[in-house]
């Protein structure tokens, strides 16, 4: 720091630290009071003013003062409210009660079925075919494995045929034509305590997993 008053003026008292030197010489002659600011030695030395940057140690809103505390609490309450409202609305979109047919149902007594018949009795309500063979029963899910339409049982052609995209399945459920990638699913079939056939649509047996040989996939009865 140059003393702007120059060597000509003898000022015994040094300027107090931190004060600009102009302050000490402000009482001296006005001709030497304020020199023009010197151009910087190199252009690269110019530093941008830090006006739009907060000081390094300023925490901004996160500085806990009394005023900031209420500001923070207000924002926190707002976001908590927003989050709980969102979660509550999303939860509301999941119905608790479904007005849909139950997954397990009783399908009458075994002697009601004729050997060799593909029963469509429970197709409308439960989307299930019950097939009676000479030595037992199996239940096929009437949901096409292509895109989920309901196929139709064509007695004359001895096959299930889907009206949506033409997938065909044998009486056993094996797919043989159309875009369906895998056989129809078989469902759990058993005898209930009262002697009726009990079918649980939640328990599925997939041919490609080798499930069809499992005991619950086929009800032995003769």
């Amino acid at each position: 720091m140059d003393n702007p008053s120059g060597p000509g003026t003898e000022n015994k008292t040094p300027p107090p630290a931190g004060n600009p030197p102009v302050a000490s010489s402000s009482t001296s002659a006005p001709a030497v009071a304020v020199p023009p600011p010197k151009p910087p030695a190199t252009a690269g030395a110019i530093k941008k003013p830090k006006q739009d940057k907060p000081p390094e140690d300023d925490l901004g809103i996160w500085r806990i003062s009394r005023r900031n505390f209420f500001s923070l609490a207000g924002w926190a309450a707002f976001f908590v409210f927003l989050a709980t409202s969102t979660i509550g609305t999303l939860r509301m979109m999941f119905p608790r009660i479904l007005y849909e047919p139950p997954s397990a149902f009783k399908a009458g007594f075994p002697q009601d079925y004729i050997v060799g018949e593909v029963s469509e009795k429970y197709k409308d309500d439960y989307r299930v075919w019950i097939i009676r063979e000479a030595d037992g029963f199996y239940a096929l899910s009437a949901i096409c494995t292509h895109l989920g339409c309901t196929p139709r049982w064509l007695e004359a052609e001895n096959k299930f045929k889907c009206p949506c995209h033409g997938s065909g399945f044998r009486r056993s459920g094996i797919n043989f034509e159309g875009p369906a990638p895998r056989p129809l699913e078989r469902l759990k079939i058993a005898l209930a305590d009262d002697g009726q056939i009990l079918i649980d649509r939640n328990i599925k047996f997939l041919f490609e997993n080798g499930d069809w040989v499992k005991p619950e996939a086929y009800l032995k009865y003769s």
Binding site: L98, Y99, L147, C149
Partner: protein, 258 residues
Amino acid sequence: MLKIREKLQQTEVWKSIFRHNYQDTNRNRALQIVDNVFLHLHPVRIPRHATNIGYTWGMGGITFLLFIVLTVTGVILMFYYRPAAEYAYEDMKYLMNDVAFGPLIRNMHRWSAHAMVITVMLHMFRVFLTGSYKAPRQFNWVVGVLLLVLTLLLSFTGYLLPWDQLAIWAVTVGTNMARATPFLGHQGPFGPQLGMRIDNDVRFVLLGGTQVGPPTLLRFYVGHCIFLPLIASIFMAVHFWRIRKDGGISGPVSNDRE
């Protein structure tokens, strides 16, 4: 007579509606657009090339017109259509057979919906061919893609509302794809690992059940009439605003340099 008119034109009400007298100056013509809430979406000045329909095909504007037609006819249809499984199909038949001008309104809605999907595609095709997706318009391309998705969702949700066999099975097939959603579908990648079942995954939320049923009809109805048009309107406002912010309607390169 002239005096009455003159007096009328000096009332506060008149001046707040018609804010300028009609002197045919450039300034007045601009102000008429700028100061009118219904016209302010339109730019004050358009470049000469923008009047060449061969370049833009006017597809964005036609799409917007169709959206307005769909909104108006859709609201009219809402007076007769009840989104409940017992009534929906009957109401559709009622509209088509016994309501005065019912077939006209419903067919306007249906054909405009089909046409809108086509014009949106053609609009996108034109924007692609003319390279109008390039900077500085890349953001608007993204908005446009969102609008395309919203248009398809509007079309899909509206498809269910007649509640006939075609509608039910088309939506059954369409929503079965949601089973395979990654993370959120019970048959999708990582879905079962995250605990997704048929009665808690994303398809369950869409359908309001495990199969297409009465809750699905109601959900699709609300989505079709309220939720999706609202979102689409917001994105449309952004879409139109961005056109002007990005330098006006796209034109041939030689004209852009002027």
